[in-house]
Symmetry: C2
């Protein structure tokens, strides 16, 4: 090693180091970087330490889907708040910090929950042997962001899983599962939070699922049109069954049937029969699933409905054809699967929906789990239904 | 419409609506959702309204890369802080809110800056005619997340752009540009912030860039190994030229040359000659670019160095072969491009590096722009160099 000494640069470096140690390095025009905070720190015993830097905050709490209520955190002399929790049941959980009443992501954690409204981070508590969503040493499929011509001259985006080996054998075609995420989720949520790709990689490696293409669209067509054309943003998407919500559901169904399915079948080696098309979704995406399937029985033969339902009102108004000739529906549908958690705030509505179907003689497979309206359950439902599809 | 009236459900719905109006809907185990906040609101006159809900905060400021300093925001009676800025020069800018000293993303905005440390959102102020990174009505390439077997039995991830038409003509092969993001950035940053795919789509549509594959790796090999194996997390990645930083640079170079390039060339239709491999990067990724290129001149013939440098010390210690036979280096390199902003905190170091090369007779193309160490500049450098590569 050459020991040339450059006084000017060494002093600059020393100064830079001092500033960095003081935790106030501010690159012009960039957010300031504080001292290094390690969070979350998942320990071998499944306890987890959460840390958050907020020297001026009065109160910081941990909000997490493995907790019944928010947990107070304590501040150390460097202004880092922390709390140790657990042992925690292995799974991937959304969490966030509540800083003086404001919900924020964990800035030290790259794993985030893509969503239009709330910001949450993800903590992965691993199991041994690893869970079905873990990154295992098996052949991996790929996840592709595709851009397709969509409604009102906008460019839509799709996240598409192709199974391991898809690119190897150009003569092989695959069935397609259209999988829609929930209210305020984005086209990335099934990928980043639902771990669709790793779940399928693992199930395919074990021979439990058929290799398939999974297409994850963005459910909020109006928001995309607003973003790209300057049209007004849609109102709060929480409302169900308002005229506006129903119009938007129709917008999605049209986009799916007129734009997305044709785009996928033109650009991917998809088997183009109704028996090779499945549709599924969580929460609002489950409602979109039911409407898109019931409105297009010539296109989809497999339905996976995760924590969602249609009201009897809507069924009677729009989908008489589904239950008035239940025998025909039963014959057409290869699978009609409905899963919900017994603590889900949509549990009662979902059970009412199942009762409605039962009364009309429409067959379905039901799966009642523990837990609420969470992505822990959603991953579970995907893992279970992926093993039933296209068989 | 059928006017069946379900008292129980209507009351439930009414109650739900009231709760939602009050802005305190808390789905069990999920982060609470407040009133709908629209932010950022980009107006036709290029002014932008930023809004942030924080009823209990004492001080909220806007921090953004189009501002010289943070801007105070004002609170309304509903607890929403806001500020109107501009008109702003069209571009995509990172921004965040400073809430009582804590930097947070904009929860109302889906567009985020993937990063290990800081959390920022992105505001897109469009131009007319649209800028080179805009989503235009041109043929679009795709962006794929690939998972490859990496160092120490971990699974690495790559984000890979393939140009429009890549999947159509299976007989065609393409040159590959390996493009590395900066310190604390992730493999997603060139995609989400750098808009690599849209920039290339537009340049290719105008005939200004050759269709190419762009491979965006994750620069922080040690962090991935820590995440997947439970090994200790690396220390603060800001330090340069420490023994640890140099080891990690070597780890990256090894991963690139031994794992990434072979994986890409096995799975993509890549032209497998040094004249068809380019390497480029921003900030730390630029340092990794220089080390990987200088250490593997048999593999790369095109170098793009954005706001980065190697010190004279390191050049003299590790890369004598590059400058001791400058004529040979000049003959081997099809392009050696170095760009930096005159307000960049690495400006002086980069100029020193260029002076070093000049003194040794190593040819390079330099590009000094205005501005700092920002992704506005980085997009500019990518747009410029993409037009020079493989020609």
């Amino acid at each position: 090693m050459k020991c040339e000494f450059n006084v000017k640069k060494s002093m600059t470096n020393a100064l830079l180091s001092l500033i960095m140690l003081a935790g106030v390095l501010t690159v012009k025009g960039q957010p300031p970087r504080g001292p290094l905070v390690i969070s979350p720190q998942v320990n071998p015993d499944k306890t987890v330490v959460f840390r958050y830097l907020a020297p001026r905050a009065n109160e910081v709490k941990l909000s997490a889907q493995f907790l019944k209520e928010q947990l107070p955190m304590a501040k150390d002399t460097s202004g880092i708040w922390s709390v140790t929790v657990g042992p925690i049941d292995p799974d991937i959980y959304p969490y966030s910090f509540n800083v003086d009443g404001v919900t924020v992501m964990d800035p030290a954690n790259v794993a985030f929950f893509p969503n239009e409204r709330f910001k949450a981070s993800l903590v992965d508590v691993p199991a041994d042997p690893p869970l079905v969503h873990a990154v295992k040493d098996v052949p991996h499929g790929t996840v592709t962001y595709e851009y397709y011509p969509s409604s009102e001259k906008t460019t839509g985006s799709l996240v598409i899983y192709t199974p391991p080996g898809y690119d190897k054998d150009q003569s092989k075609s695959y069935p397609v599962f259209y999988l829609i995420s929930g209210t305020t989720d984005t086209e990335e949520t099934w990928f980043k939070v639902g771990r669709t790709n790793f779940i399928l990689d693992n199930l395919i490696a074990e021979g439990k699922a058929r290799p398939m293409i999974i297409v994850m669209p963005y459910g909020n067509v109006a928001a995309r049109i607003a973003a790209q054309t300057g049209a007004p943003k849609p109102a709060d998407p929480m409302g169900r069954e308002s005229a506006d919500a129903l119009k938007r559901a129709k917008d999605f169904e049209n986009d799916l049937v007129n734009n997305i399915v044709p785009y996928v079948e033109k650009n991917y080696r998809a088997i183009q029969t109704r028996e090779s098309r499945a549709i599924g979704g969580f929460s609002r995406g489950g409602g979109q699933t039911l409407r898109s399937a019931f409105g297009n029985m010539d296109k989809f033969a497999w339905i996976c409905c995760y924590a969602s339902y249609l009201s009897s009102n809507e069924m009677e108004r729009d989908y008489r054809s589904i239950y008035e000739n239940a025998a025909n529906t039963n014959q057409q549908l290869k699978l009609f699967w409905i899963g919900v958690g017994n603590e889900d705030f949509l549990y009662n509505s979902t059970v009412e929906f199942m009762d409605f179907l039962k009364a009309k003689g429409v067959n379905y497979k039901s799966r009642i789990t523990s837990g609420g309206h969470t992505w822990m359950n959603t991953k579970k439902y995907l893992s279970e239904t992926a093993q039933l599809l296209f068989k």
